[in-house]
């Protein structure tokens, strides 16, 4: 073997000599290693037989360039089919010796590199085609700039690859640096670990978007960090939808809370109302009961008064009646002593009757059972009746008795004639009782435009100044000895004052010891609006 023969057999690259017809004249053992065919199975065969079908046309054209157009050292690539059917990429260097019509070829199996290249191209295409934004930052360069961004990045941010290459990706945050996502991102980068964060980023046109960024470190075969790859997605719509849902949820929660509150309040209000209702019902019941009790008490009281009146008068009728029968001599003539004693029984019975009347009056006033009944009455007739009932008493004590009716008084006034008479007679009886000599004067006077006065004047024993207020209290007299001497119940003035007050009037007394007393009752003057027939006057 010559030297060339050695080299031919040792060559790693595939060596071949092809004749003008495209038939392998000679191949070296490298063919067998690459394609699996034995050398003797290749030699003598047309090379086109081993060329991958799709590459045959290209290969034919190239062969023509070499043979016909006589190009020298033509480089090309094509695919061959190996014995097992797999495809091998081959890179060719070929030249022709036109004198003898042979082609000398060197082929190298570049299948591995070719496959890697295809793979890389595919990956690149995939990255370019990715709907997610993909970017790569170089850790080895100062400030870790972006060195690659895919079209999706541009769609998302508005920035083209040329605009961003060489810049740190933080420009996407604008001035909005203090975000929790940014801080987390910085920490992850410092610690060289992958992270997914959501950032508020800003498009080239300034519009904010939510960027869900997943960042991962890339290490070289020695484990050194070289790059970061970032995959981003604009999740603004999702975030806004989430926020909306969250807001709606919060609104719902709030609405529910408010609703629950309102319901609670309504419930409490209802309970309160119910309680108040119950309370009101109870109060009403209690009030009704109290009113009934009060009414009952008043009814019982007046019933009691009526019964007392009746029951006290009945035995008095017998006492007074039988005594009078004796005094009238219906049972025969009495001795002087008998007559005297019977007269005393009668006087005491009279006193007792007066006492009963007064006590019942006071009781009625205090029980609220005494009513003032105002009707029109003739003043002159009324005065006459009063005089009729009191003149006798004055005559008995040989006292002077005068009366005067103010001419300015209207002839008919409105009032309770019976109660007024009771007041007048009471005052007059008192005056007569406490006067031993002199005159009793009764006057009716107009007092201003809206009042009139009933004045009873006497020339009696008088009332000491310190007693002038207390004489209007029940069971008060100037002194107890005078009561015994003068009789009287001690209730008269109390009744007079109560009646005067009930009729809207007042009473006052002026008195000097041993000179006499003047009682003045001032009453509202009420004239009737219509003319009343005479028969009403002075009657009850």
């Amino acid at each position: 073997m010559n030297e060339l023969e050695h080299l031919f057999n040792l060559s790693i690259d595939m060596l071949a000599i092809v004749d003008a017809n495209g038939v392998f004249l000679r191949v070296n053992p490298a063919w067998e290693r690459v394609l699996g065919h034995k050398v003797e199975d290749i030699e003598g065969q047309p090379f086109m037989r081993f060329v991958y079908e799709e590459d045959r046309e290209l290969t034919q054209a190239t062969a023509l360039r070499i043979v016909v157009e006589k190009e020298e050292a033509v480089r090309f690539q094509n695919r061959y089919i190996s014995k097992d059917g797999s495809i091998r990429w081959l890179s060719w260097n070929a030249t022709a010796d036109h004198n003898i019509g042979s082609i000398y070829c060197v082929a190298r199996d570049i299948t591995h590199a070719k496959m890697t290249e295809v793979q890389l191209m595919l990956r690149n295409s995939a990255i370019e085609a990715s709907p997610f934004s993909i970017s790569i930052a170089d850790v080895g360069l100062p400030d870790m700039p972006l060195i690659y961004t895919n079209p999706a990045f541009e769609r998302m941010t508005g920035y083209s690859v040329t605009e961003v290459t060489g810049k740190n990706c933080r420009f996407l945050q604008g001035d909005d640096r203090e975000q929790p996502g940014v801080l987390a991102l910085r920490t992850a980068i410092r610690e060289e670990r992958p992270i997914t964060v959501v950032l508020r980023n800003y498009r080239k046109d300034g519009e904010m978007f939510y960027n869900e960024l997943s960042l991962a470190p890339i290490h070289d075969d020695r484990g050194m960090l070289t790059h970061y790859v970032g995959i981003s997605n604009d999740i603004t719509l999702r975030v806004l939808a989430d926020e909306k849902i969250q807001q709606q949820n919060q609104d719902l929660i709030l609405a529910n809370y408010n609703l629950a509150n309102a319901r609670q309040e309504a419930l409490e209000a209802a309970i309160q109302i119910a309680q108040q209702n119950d309370q009101l019902k109870l109060t009403n019941l209690a009030l009704g009961k109290a009113r009934k009790e009060a009414e009952n008490a008043t009814r019982l009281k007046s019933q009691f008064l009526a019964t007392m009146s009746h029951e006290l008068r009945t035995p008095l009728n017998a006492i007074i009646g039988y005594t009078e029968i004796h005094l009238a001599g219906m049972t025969g003539e009495l001795t002087g002593e008998q007559r005297d004693y019977q007269a005393r029984v009668l006087a005491n019975a009279d006193h007792l009757l007066q006492l009963i009347n007064d006590v019942l009056d006071i009781s009625k006033i205090e029980a609220g059972r005494l009513e003032i009944v105002n009707k029109p009455f003739n003043v002159a007739l009324w005065l006459e009746e009063v005089l009729d009932q009191t003149q006798g008493l004055a005559e008995e004590k040989k006292l002077g008795y005068t009366s005067a009716l103010d001419q300015r008084m209207p002839p008919v006034i409105v009032g309770d004639a019976a109660r007024l008479k009771q007041v007048a007679i009471n005052l007059l009886s008192n005056a007569i009782k406490f006067t031993d000599s002199g005159t009793i004067r009764l006057q009716i006077r107009k007092h201003g435009h809206e009042a009139w006065k009933l004045i009873v004047e006497d020339t009696g024993i008088g009332i000491p100044s310190h007693m002038q207020e207390t004489i209007f209290e029940e069971f008060r007299q100037v002194d107890s000895s005078s009561r015994r001497k003068q009789g009287g119940t001690g209730l008269g003035l109390a009744i007079v004052r109560k009646l005067a007050l009930m009729m809207g009037g007042t009473i006052r007394v002026q008195s000097q010891m041993s000179k006499g007393s003047t009682f003045t009752v001032i009453l509202p003057l009420d004239e009737p609006l219509h003319h009343y027939p005479e028969k009403d006057a002075g009657e009850r």
């Binding site: 008064l305 009146s309 009945t314 009728n317 007074i320 009646g321 009078e324 029968i325 019942l360």
Partner: protein, 130 residues
């Protein structure tokens, strides 16, 4: 003493209280009147079947039948329609007289009474009635 001829009077006193009857009866009989006494309305009505009084003195509060009821029944008897009926009662509080007169009684005398005014009131009542 009132100057009246009472000898022609025949009086029915209806009262359950013997002492009250006693006083009125004594005063009237002393002056010559004829007096019959009943202790309640039932007795009074029975008595009126055979006794035609000049007037009736009628107490109001009585057992069996009170004065109000007897008054109502007497007024329904034609032969007694014109017989004066005078209430003689210890119901002498304000309003009692009015109630009695409104019911249609011909007179009202409150107990206790004084003999003079008792006879005067009866006289006035009879005079007004005739």
């Amino acid at each position: 003493m009132v100057n009246m001829n009472m000898k022609t009077w025949s009086v029915l006193i209806v009262d359950d209280e013997p002492d009250n009857v006693g006083v009125a009866q004594k005063v009237l009989t002393f002056n010559g009147a004829t007096v019959r006494v009943a202790r309640n309305g039932v007795e009074g009505l029975k008595m009126l079947e055979s006794f035609f009084p000049t007037f009736i003195l009628l107490d109001l509060s009585m057992p069996e039948m009170d004065g109000w009821e007897m008054f109502r029944r007497v007024r329904q008897i034609d032969s007694l329609a014109n017989t004066p009926i005078i209430a003689l009662t210890a119901h002498a509080m304000s309003g009692d007289r009015e109630r009695v007169m409104e019911a249609g009684f011909d007179g009202y005398i409150a107990k206790p009474f004084r003999i003079d005014s008792f006879l005067e009131d009866i006289g006035a009542c009879l005079k007004a009635f005739l």
